[in-house]
């Protein structure tokens, strides 16, 4: 029983680490346009690294028919855009200040972030 309890606690620790503490690698946007594919409950890539002071366009391509995927929200910028199915939709940003700007679906289940910093690291 002790082992099972320990395994249970370990599982809880793993959940905390995997979903909250671990920060996955961000994809560096080497061009001004980054395509984000919305499919199967995720944004791909979900973490996008941008250089500060650079214009950027995110091109969303939604392949997920689920109505959850239909809207992308950038709460920091008060942007909430509907994404058509299987058609690109561009959202352009002026040069942004350093910082992390999350984007989500309407229900916060699909999650991604723009990470803006000076040197792209």
């Amino acid at each position: 029983m002790m082992i099972i309890n320990l395994l249970g606690l370990l599982l809880i620790a793993l959940i905390v680490w995997w979903f909250w503490l671990y920060k996955p690698q961000a994809v560096l946007a080497d061009k001004n346009t980054v395509t984000v594919v919305v499919d199967n409950g995720t944004y791909e890539p979900s973490r996008i690294r941008l250089l500060a002071g650079q214009n950027t366009t995110l091109r969303f391509l939604r392949k997920d028919a689920s109505s959850c995927a239909a809207t992308v929200v950038f709460a920091d910028f008060d942007i909430s855009e509907e994404l058509p199915l299987n058609k690109p939709k561009d959202i352009s940003f002026p040069p942004l200040a350093s910082g992390e700007y999350p984007f989500t679906c309407q229900m916060q289940m699909y999650r991604g972030a723009l990470i803006v910093n000076e040197n792209g690291e």
Binding site: G8, G41, T42, E44, S67, A75, P88, M109
Partner: protein, 758 residues
């Protein structure tokens, strides 16, 4: 930090320089250069870039789409435009996609339930589904494999979604469903394969739970899609107002062309009963136009040469010709649609807590499921393993982040649409929420309570003058003025056929009047204060001025060579329905305050007539925002209503600024809320709709909170020690599927709300 210049290019919405095409038949890397090369050869194409993975190509430049498609066909492939086009086609496509998704979900539901329901009935009739004999093991193995088929054919999207988001370090509803149904199935298969490793009492299988949950959740999602479609009915109606073709005069002939091809300056013919296709100015003809679909104003509006007509309204009586002044995305209708769409997607602050909770929700539920299983294993009754599995599965399945996440956006969607139907444009969720809490409303008198079209109603003469003479002098002087009352004096003089003279040394005394020289006479024209400041004796005529003011007229004094010549009274008629609308506001507990630059006596008379007890008179234009601040200091949440032109600072300072439009003259950018029709009823409607929407959001949030806060512990089995109650995973699946449907249905209830009755 909030960047100011973010813009969204809707690639599904024409008029961009970049065209997107989907390529068919391209399968190798060499196709890319062939297609790009073919496109670059077209005149006007600057750049062509193909994305092999998506089979799309983006073409920058000014070439026609047909030319691009032809070039690609000539190169041996096929292509179609995916850049297209109007709001209508975007909407049609969305509906088509939703319909296809709905069909898929329904099909998957039938697959899952056709196994789940018989198993469910079996378990209810025969009792426990246990594995004891070899025969039972064989039968349950087959059932287990069938259940796997259900998982694969009807529930695959849950498992793929769960895996993808897991790999991405995130979790969503799919995660919970996949874990719940997966746990039940794996445990059942374990029992089938290794019954001896499981205590005898715990040798249950839960295949019916897996199949039923998948079926019920697919059903819930399918019903939700349908219900969601209804939440956007208002925007669909607006989009539907846009006609598809227009009859324009080209080379002296009237021809029907697609709406997208109408150009600025085109002369457009509209016959009785037809919709007006773009915005323009009537150049010939006389008619009445029904603008109710945009303004909420039921009476048709007369239109003659020089009047403005707007797209989407209906020409009722005569045939007219008008010149297009705004086309495509610039028409008032297109802008209204854009604004309503944006507002529908924006969130009021009340939804933020739910967002924070949603962000942590799924992992927390997973942790609760583990804890629940551990507690059952440690202190539960036998069969502990079975109880642990059931409680963990039920916790995972019953938790519904969707209900929480949908609570706010669904109500905003319906509420903003409902307001738009009443001619009220709400800028965003925040404006909606603040409007619902307004405690004090400042109404600018001119143009808001009154028509804003003052006319000369009385002239009292002094010192043997005659009416024509004083009116001519006053009007000649006022030609230089920008004051709204000036126009009424000039109009009145013109109506009497008087010829105005030139004015010299014109000067405006802000807030008090004007002065200048006409026909060699030094003229002063303005209020009592101006006369007193300049030492003009008016005492003898004060009672007359007061009598005029008491009748809600504005008396203005004209002095010729420092001697009073006349008092000219101007009156701005009160809008017919102002009294009733103000009463509606007051009945809703709003403190209504009037604000005007007029003298105290006139202000009092107008205020009394419309049933307002509090008013600020003699307020100079730049003092309007001070009055807003004054009320805010008293702890009021202040709404300011004005015409949006000269009271912009006050509108901005108020907690909510209401711009009152006249007809379809949309002051979209200037205020939090724009009232499309001149009536103050729009204001009462706006407040009623926002109150109703906010209370709908609160019901939804509360319902979703209570559902999750109560449902999860019950699923974990907290009631078991007291009542012996432990939920079945199937019940949890049904509850979960219908909880989000309930939220959407409750939001749809708002569609029936009648603002006018509040």
């Amino acid at each position: 930090m909030q960047p100011t210049d973010i813009h969204v290019l809707d690639k599904a919405n024409g008029s961009q320089e970049t065209e997107y095409l989907r390529i068919h038949g391209a399968s190798c890397a060499s196709c890319v250069s062939k297609i790009e090369g073919a496109l670059r050869e077209i005149d006007g194409v600057k750049e062509a870039a193909m994305n092999m993975a998506q089979s799309t190509v983006s073409v920058t430049g000014h070439a026609a789409v047909e030319a691009m498609i032809n070039a690609i066909r000539a190169a041996g492939y096929d292509a179609e435009s995916i850049t297209d086009s109007s709001n209508q086609s975007v909407l049609d496509e969305k509906e088509k996609a939703d319909e296809a998704y709905h069909k898929r979900l329904m099909r998957e539901m039938w697959i899952a339930l056709s196994l789940g329901v018989p198993l469910m009935i079996y378990s209810l009739v025969v009792g426990e589904m246990t594995v004891t004999t070899t025969m039972e093991r064989a039968v349950w193995l087959i059932v287990g494999l069938l259940t796997f088929g259900v998982m694969f054919f009807a529930g695959r999207h849950f498992y793929i979604g769960a895996w993808k988001s897991f790999a991405n370090h995130s979790a969503n509803m799919d995660t919970l469903i996949a874990l719940g149904t997966g746990t039940a199935w794996i445990y059942s298969m374990f029992v089938v394969f290794f019954p001896s490793l499981v205590p005898e009492m715990a040798r249950h299988v839960y295949f019916e739970a897996t199949a039923m949950i998948i079926g019920l959740i697919n059903l819930g999602l399918a019903l939700e899609i349908k219900a969601r479609g209804r939440t956007s009915e208002a925007i669909k109606r607006l989009i539907g107002l846009q006609p598809k073709t227009a009859r324009v005069v080209r080379n002296g002939e009237e021809v029907d062309i697609a709406i997208e091809r109408v150009q600025l300056g085109d002369h457009v013919r509209v016959r009785p009963g037809e919709k007006i296709s773009v915005d323009g100015i009537v150049s010939d003809g006389l008619t009445a136009v029904d603008e109710s679909m945009l303004t909420g104003e039921p009476m048709p509006v007369e239109k003659a040469t020089g009047d403005e007509v707007v797209a989407g309204t209906i020409n009722k009586s005569g045939s007219i010709l008008f010149q297009a002044t705004r086309v495509g995305k610039d028409t008032a209708l297109a802008q209204i649609i854009e604004m309503v769409k944006r507002a529908q997607n924006s969130k009021p602050p009340i939804g933020r807590l739910a967002d924070v909770i949603s962000a942590y929700f799924v992992p927390v539920v997973m942790i609760i499921a583990v804890i629940s299983a551990l507690v059952w294993l440690n202190v539960g009754p036998d069969p502990r393993v079975a109880f642990a599995i059931v409680s963990a599965t039920t916790v995972l399945i019953i938790a519904c982040p969707c209900a929480l996440g949908l609570a706010t956006p669904m109500s905003v969607m319906v509420g903003v649409g409902k307001a738009a139907e009443a001619g009220v444009l709400i800028r965003n969720g925040e404006a909606l929420q603040t409007a619902s809490k307004v405690t004090a409303m400042i109404l600018d008198k001119t143009g808001t309570i009154t028509l804003g079209q003052p006319a000369v109603t009385d002239i009292e003469l002094a010192h043997a003058n005659n009416e024509s003479k004083v009116l001519r002098l006053a009007a000649s002087l006022e030609v230089g003025s920008e004051h709204p009352l000036a126009l009424s004096i000039i109009e009145s003089a013109k109506n009497r056929g008087l010829e105005l003279g030139p004015v010299e040394q014109f000067q405006s005394v802000t807030g008090h009047g004007v002065e200048g020289i006409v026909d060699g006479h030094a003229l002063l024209f303005g209020n009592e204060k101006l006369m007193r400041d300049r030492g003009v004796d008016i005492d003898q005529h004060l009672p007359s001025a007061q009598r005029m003011a008491a009748l809600a007229q504005t008396p203005m004094y004209l002095a010729v060579d420092d001697q009073l010549a006349a008092i000219i009274a101007v009156s701005d008629p009160i809008k017919e329905d102002s009294i009733e609308a103000i009463k509606r506001l007051q009945n809703n507990g709003v403190r209504v305050v009037m604000l005007t630059g007029d003298n105290r006596a006139t202000a009092k008379a107008v205020a009394e007539r419309v049933g307002i007890t509090e008013y600020f008179a003699e307020v100079l234009p730049d003092q309007k925002s001070d009055k807003v601040a004054e009320l805010q200091m008293q702890g009021e949440i202040v709404g300011m209503t004005g015409d949006g032109i000269n009271d912009a600072p006050a509108l901005a300072l108020a907690n909510v600024g209401f711009a009152i439009g006249t007809g379809t003259d949309v002051a979209i950018e200037s205020a939090d809320i724009t009232l499309m029709r001149g009536s103050l009823h729009g204001l009462a409607d706006a407040i009623a709709v926002s109150k109703a929407t906010l209370s709908n959001i609160k019901q939804n949030l509360l319902g979703a909170f209570i559902y999750n806060v109560a449902g999860v512990p019950v699923a974990a089995g907290v009631l078991y020690p007291f009542l012996g109650l432990l939920l079945s995973p199937v019940i949890a699946g049904a509850a979960m599927a219908f909880s989000s449907l309930t939220v959407v249905t409750n939001a749809n209830r708002l569609r029936l709300f009648n603002a006018q009755k509040h």
